[in-house]
């Protein structure tokens, strides 16, 4: 009920006769394109940086591992707006890293698409790490041992044995972090702002439209859900069988 009713409500309120026009509108197309770029980039960064970390968490043994894992999952339990404030404090114009970047390179991250990517990565990263860590834990280490007795170097084992066997978990990590990044709102609007064409992703566009043109907000929401479902199903069929 809790899941079904809002979705049903959305479908009910969506102005189906206008949906084409709204979806094809300038604001929508720009926001949609930006959302896809931001979510995809964030998912790829989360995967690339999450994989080594997941590996260390799954296989390594070192002091403070519990602490590292706690820090990694923190963004999951943190209110996104707090995440945005945190990102501001770090990478903002006056942040601890941001001020340095600005003074030395004249680079400002806030209010750029990179800020939106950073915000989306921040919240989606834990999902990628958790999915990959579970996958790596589930691997039979002895298969990698067997591969090494067949003359495979560590790198070859990783490429030909480990990663192929992790296929479903890699797909899950990408889908989960992509979907999370696609829906990100709080951290993005706080850290990156709401600039059309640069940081206004689809959820931000929905929020803005809700005031001026509620019908458009409903239509865009439906579009967002359809998009997420489409990607999840496409990847499910391919990897999760």
């Amino acid at each position: 009920m809790l899941v079904g009713l809002p979705v049903a409500g959305l479908l009910f309120r969506t102005p189906w006769s206008r949906i084409g026009e709204i979806a094809a509108g300038d604001v929508s197309v720009t926001a949609l394109r930006l959302s896809l770029v931001v979510a995809t980039t964030a998912a790829l960064i989360s995967f690339a940086t999450g994989f080594p970390l997941a590996w260390i968490l799954a296989r390594g043994s070192f002091r403070g591992k519990a602490l590292v894992r706690a820090v990694v999952v923190l963004p999951l339990v943190m209110p996104p707006v707090v995440a945005g404030v945190g990102l501001l404090a770090a990478f903002g114009r006056h942040g601890i890293v941001g001020s340095w970047l600005y003074d030395w390179f004249g680079v400002q991250i806030t209010f750029t698409t990179w800020a939106a990517v950073l915000a989306a990565t921040f919240v989606s990263f834990p999902l990628a790490v958790l999915a990959l860590e579970a996958g790596i834990r589930g691997l039979d280490v002895r298969l990698e041992d067997a591969a090494s007795t067949l003359g495979a170097t560590r790198w070859y084992v990783l490429r030909r044995v480990t990663v192929p066997m992790l296929g479903p978990q890699i797909a899950a990590a990408l889908v989960l972090s992509w979907a999370r990044a696609l829906g990100e709102f709080g951290a993005t609007i706080t850290f990156a702002g709401n600039l059309q064409g640069r940081t206004q992703t689809l959820p931000l566009a929905v929020f803005e439209r809700l005031q001026a043109d509620p019908d458009a907000a409903f239509a865009l929401s439906t579009l967002l859900i359809a998009l997420a479902l489409a990607v999840i199903f496409a990847l499910r069929g391919r990897f999760l069988g």
Partner: protein
């Protein structure tokens, strides 16, 4: 090859040698440290002390801290649970070692295909491991271990995962492959039949210690521990197999004949057929027994070994037979050294292994 392997603390301390062209079986009960030895030879578990040397190449020298990583050891391993790569086909599994060492794809595949054909599983080349039967998977694992032409072939319980009907066939094939393999063969097993039928020499490992080394014949004639006696106490009959008109066959050994079941895959008149008879399946009688057992032998008691509640009685029959009976039966039959007795066993109790 000259292996002196030691692992400190509890686990295992095993030293033995094996020559090229020889199959050495490392035989011991579960928990004796056999798998530890396999891991150590394969390079997956560094020894705490001692050395492993293969063809003058020092693989491990704990004292000097020298160690050849597993991927650089010329060793092919058939693991107990095979560990075939689930995401690769049978052919790709076999080609893996060649590809890992940089062979071009086509060349690796041709060689892999040749190996699969030799082992009779080329029809399954494109199947994934989960779709292979136990016997097929076993042969693919053997092909994979052989692919890179290692100088040591290491087999960990190669037949234990198979059902009885498949086991005989694969054992036959395994023996042929072992004989054709030019390097050192090390077989690790808890199954004395596997060891006796495949190995030239046996190394008995008990609780992490080598308790006896010798040919199967040597160990059979002079077992040095209760475990050894138990293991090799199996009656081992070798001879020519002829069919009998009444069904079944006659296994003619140099010391006498026994009636055995007829196996499917042996030509009449084959020499070197092995018959295995467990001592517990032999019944002893004071008088000539009536009944359906097709093997009835007569002989004098040569030796009696007491082992807990059981006694092993060696009879000078033709062929000589060892029976295992309870202490109660021993007393009831009044068995003592030198007295004449009858022994009987059913033909079907003899397990036949083709040469």
């Amino acid at each position: 090859m000259d292996v002196g392997l030691a692992r400190g603390g509890f686990v295992a301390r095993a030293a033995f040698e094996a020559e090229a062209g020889e199959t050495v079986a490392l035989l011991g009960p579960n928990g004796a440290g056999k798998s530890t030895v396999v891991l150590a030879i394969a390079g997956l578990l560094p020894p705490v002390e001692g050395t492993i040397v293969l063809d003058h190449l020092v693989l491990d020298d704990a004292a000097a801290g020298a160690r050849v990583p597993p991927e650089e050891r010329p060793i092919g391993v058939v693991f107990q649970d095979l560990l075939l790569f689930p995401n690769l086909t049978a052919l790709e599994n076999v080609a893996f070692a060649l590809r890992a060492r940089g062979a071009p794809r086509r060349q690796a595949r041709e060689r892999a295909d040749g190996l699969l054909r030799r082992l009779g599983v080329s029809a399954r080349a494109h199947a994934r491991p989960r779709d292979l039967s136990g016997g097929e998977a076993q042969r693919v694992a053997l092909a994979r271990a052989l692919a890179a032409e290692p100088s040591l072939l290491l087999l960990d319980e190669p037949l234990s995962a198979l059902d009885v009907s498949t086991r005989g066939r694969i054992r036959h094939q395994l023996r042929r492959e072992l004989t054709g393999f030019p390097g050192v063969r090390v077989l690790v097993t808890h199954d004395p039949i596997e060891a006796m039928t495949l190995a030239d020499r046996m190394v008995l490992l008990e609780a992490g210690r080598v308790t006896q080394v010798g040919t199967p014949d040597e160990i059979r004639s002079a077992p040095r521990s209760a475990y050894a006696a138990d293991l090799v106490g199996v009656n081992f009959l070798v001879g020519r197999l002829e069919p009998l008109a009444r069904g079944g066959g006659r296994l003619a050994t140099t010391e006498g004949d026994v009636v055995v079941p007829w196996p499917d895959d042996v030509e009449p008149g084959t020499d070197g057929v092995i018959g295995l008879l467990r001592p517990a399946d032999v019944v002893l009688h004071a008088d000539r027994p009536e009944g359906s057992a097709r093997n009835v032998l007569r002989g004098r008691v040569e030796a009696i070994d007491l082992e807990g509640e059981r006694a092993r009685v060696r009879l000078s029959s033709a062929p000589p037979i060892v029976a295992e009976i309870t202490l109660g039966s021993l007393e009831r039959l009044g068995i003592a050294e030198g007295i004449p007795l009858w022994a009987s066993f059913k033909a079907v109790e003899v397990e036949i292994l083709p040469p």
